[in-house]
């Protein structure tokens, strides 16, 4: 059992939790993920590691409430336990040889982009962070990003936070103004990453996208997380989760990601109703 040591709401739909998981904390690196189950009959869900503290033995996760399991997770409180918590899984972000990087995050993906930005910053890499949200209410980790970046650009769809527009607009502006990045790292909704990669391809900037597909075991056994990268089938759990963004078939990934949408929607509604009844 894995105790929830801290729980904090970052915005109405995004929550941070610090979990006691010493074995995972000992090995965790930015870019890797964990799989958790809330209870004995729970679903296995993958979440990318947002932060970790080796000496305290804790791992931080940040999740958006989108389905039945994240709804259940959000109803757990400090002092309560997760039934299962396994990791770290996947490969860590490659940071070797980098000098100047643009980190482009969107929505809850920023929770995963942040530890990457922080690690690069700690390694002495010049980091420009571009983060996008739908509106002011959904902005997360603004101060943390600022502390880890020499340049920070906040974008929102409606202009209520930072500048109005898309992260691709901001990235394009920076590139056009003469900023030379040796890598762009993008983490967020598939559609956003697709357009970030299309943009950087025009400028021939190597780009890495962090994928978060449907997954069960996370160790290479089920193949549910497979995607096409450069014409080859890859498993996000063992070959990724980060891949060369210019080679990923994003349209296929989006179709696969929508496979269980009707089921998820129904399960989420049922879970919400259940919690309402309890109240």
């Amino acid at each position: 059992m894995f105790e929830i040591l801290e729980k904090r709401s970052l915005n109405p739909t995004v929550t941070l939790m610090k979990i006691a998981a010493p074995k995972v904390a000992k090995k965790a690196e930015p870019g890797q993920f964990i799989i958790l189950r809330t209870d004995e009959n729970g679903e296995r869900i993958p979440l990318t590691i947002a932060d970790f503290d080796r000496s305290a033995g804790t791992v931080t996760i940040i999740f958006q409430i989108v389905g039945a399991t994240t709804e259940k997770l959000n109803h757990l409180n400090e002092g309560e336990c997760l039934h299962d918590f396994v990791g770290p899984l996947g490969r860590a972000t490659e940071t070797e040889g980098l000098k100047k990087v643009a980190v482009v995050g969107g929505g809850v993906g920023c929770a995963i982009a942040y530890p990457v930005a922080k690690k690069l910053h700690d390694l002495g890499v010049e980091v420009h962070s571009i983060v996008g949200f739908r509106n002011q209410d959904l902005v997360i980790l603004e101060d943390e990003f600022k502390a880890a970046s020499s340049k920070f650009v906040l974008m929102s769809d409606d202009g209520s936070a930072g500048e109005k527009g898309l992260v691709t607009d901001a990235l394009k502006k920076l590139i056009e103004s003469g900023e030379k990045y040796d890598r762009v790292i993008t983490i967020g909704p598939l559609i956003m990453m697709k357009f970030v990669c299309q943009l950087t391809k025009q400028y021939e900037i190597p780009t890495v996208a962090s994928m978060n597909p449907i997954m069960i075991d996370g160790t290479g056994m089920c193949g549910g997380c497979r995607l096409t990268v450069g014409g080859e089938t890859k498993f996000a759990c063992v070959d990724g989760p980060e891949f060369d963004g210019h080679l990923i078939d994003f349209d296929e990934a989006m179709a696969r990601g929508a496979m269980y949408k009707p089921f998820e929607r129904k399960a989420h509604e049922e879970t919400c109703n259940l919690f309402k009844e309890v109240k």
Partner: protein
């Protein structure tokens, strides 16, 4: 005098048209009377040919003699001297190619139903009130087992009985490996698997779930920092293979591993499951092994019309005879000499159909089976909304990638000698991780052999 009836006692089963709609066990097991009657068919041969066919060398005539006398407790004792998982093996071993294949009674009639008797004895034992277990005295040596599937459990069972301090590391949240995530409930009920594992725990085996060796902890750390003198790698062949044909990543295409894991491990067949699985209307399963049969019969139970496509003929099907027979009885259609070449999509990225090349057999290939070759220009398109690829698995590369000095074959299998010793001192391996996908009982045999070698190594260290 033995009972010289040529035919064996039929196994009572659920009616095919009832069972193809539920996930309860298909075979119901012998009654005491049936078991005793069947046991009396054994000739108690002096040279015991059946034992030579058993990968773990159970003293088969001896346990059957006890069943014939009605002393089931004694029969259980004899079986468990050699096997840690009798309730499992009695259900899933390919007996027709092993013990029963060597049975003298099979020459002029049907072999003694050894597997059914083994299952009967194990189930009888499990139904008795639990007796206090005597934990073996500890000898102070520590052994680590990676993977809680059949090879790991067999290895753990033998080592714990010899007094070792045994810890089994499992990546998933439930122990059992393929017994838990792969083989369906209707063929191997999960409470039976858990009961066998509880039995090992009662003897002192520690099971650490949620631990991915190679990620959470490395083999070198187990040996250098945590004091394990030997390690057994029983990590299986978990990586699913695909055909590399167009359309394989469409929505609605599964590896058999994913489909079965959703259903067996995550219980997606239950109404209230939190893990979804597609309830296809028309499912096509590609492959002819036991796993293909399991996937087909699961899809059927979820309400699909099911077709198995296999590129050779019925004679070459690698699945257990009983599984093929059960699948047919349940209404599953077989299309032989048929090989998928493309999966076609609907407008929104779902499977629509499978285009298959018709095949014919030519000369035997390296495996000794007739080689299927394409029939020029002969194609057939099968409508489907769900396709399950069941064409085999490869060993997981995670352990190889994170263990220095561990040699593997080109295709990924860990290189080990007859006793399971790998290229790394103190590290042993067995089961599918070494051989590639095989059977539960062969994996158990490898686990037992390695346990003996590990015992010798630790005693002489």
């Amino acid at each position: 005098m033995p009972n010289m009836r040529a035919t064996r006692n039929e196994m009572p089963v659920q009616d095919p048209n009832v069972r193809n709609k539920n996930f309860k066990e298909v075979a119901l097991g012998y009654t005491e009377e049936q078991a005793i009657d069947e046991a009396q068919r054994c000739l108690n041969c002096k040279n015991k040919p059946c034992v030579t066919g058993c990968p773990v060398q159970i003293d088969i005539p001896a346990f059957i003699a006890e069943v014939a006398k009605g002393d089931f407790a004694e029969a259980y004792k004899i079986i468990t001297k050699s096997s840690s998982l009798p309730a499992v093996c009695g259900r899933v071993c390919p007996q027709e190619n092993q013990c029963e294949g060597k049975c003298v009674r099979g020459i002029k009639g049907e072999a003694v139903a050894i597997g059914r008797l083994e299952r009967f004895v194990a189930d009888w034992h499990n139904a008795q009130p639990e007796a206090a277990v005597e934990k073996p005295a500890s000898n102070g040596h520590k052994a680590a087992i990676i993977g809680s599937g059949p090879s790991g459990l067999a290895c753990a069972g033998d080592l714990i009985k010899k007094g070792y301090d045994v810890t089994v590391f499992e990546a998933l949240h439930v122990a059992g490996g393929v017994l838990s995530y792969g083989i369906p409930e209707f063929r191997l009920p999960k409470d039976i698997v858990q009961k066998e594992i509880e039995g090992l725990k009662a003897l002192g085996v520690k099971v650490e779930t949620n631990t991915v060796v190679g990620r959470t902890v490395a083999i070198d750390e187990l040996m250098k920092e945590e004091g394990f003198e030997t390690v057994f790698i029983g990590s299986g062949a978990g990586l699913p293979r695909f055909m590399k044909i167009p359309g394989e990543n469409l929505s609605g295409v599964y590896s058999a591993n994913e489909f079965l894991t959703r259903i067996n491990l995550m219980k997606a067949y239950k109404e209230d499951s939190t893990t979804p699985v597609q309830h296809g209307k028309k499912a096509v399963i590609v492959g002819g092994g036991n796993v293909a049969m399991d996937a087909a019969r699961c899809a059927k139970r979820l309400g699909a019309d099911v077709t198995i496509v296999y590129r050779r003929t019925e004679t070459e099907l690698p699945a257990r005879a009983e599984e093929v027979e059960h699948a047919k009885e349940e209404g599953i259609v077989f299309k032989f000499l048929t090989n998928p070449v493309e999966i076609k999509a609907t407008d929104n990225g779902w499977v629509k159909s499978v285009v298959c090349q018709e095949m014919e057999l030519s000369e035997p290939d390296a495996s000794g089976r007739a080689k299927p070759v394409p029939k020029e220009g002969a194609f057939v398109e099968i409508e489907a909304d769900c396709v399950i690829m069941s064409i085999g698995t490869s060993p997981n590369p995670l352990i190889k990638a994170t263990t220095e000095g561990l040699d593997t074959q080109k295709w990924g299998g860990i290189i080990a000698d007859d006793n399971g010793l790998t290229s790394k001192e103190g590290v042993y391996a067995g089961g599918d991780a070494v051989t590639g996908a095989a059977t539960v009982i062969l994996a158990m045999g490898a686990g037992k052999k390695a346990a003996a070698a590990m015992d010798e190594y630790m005693q002489n260290k």
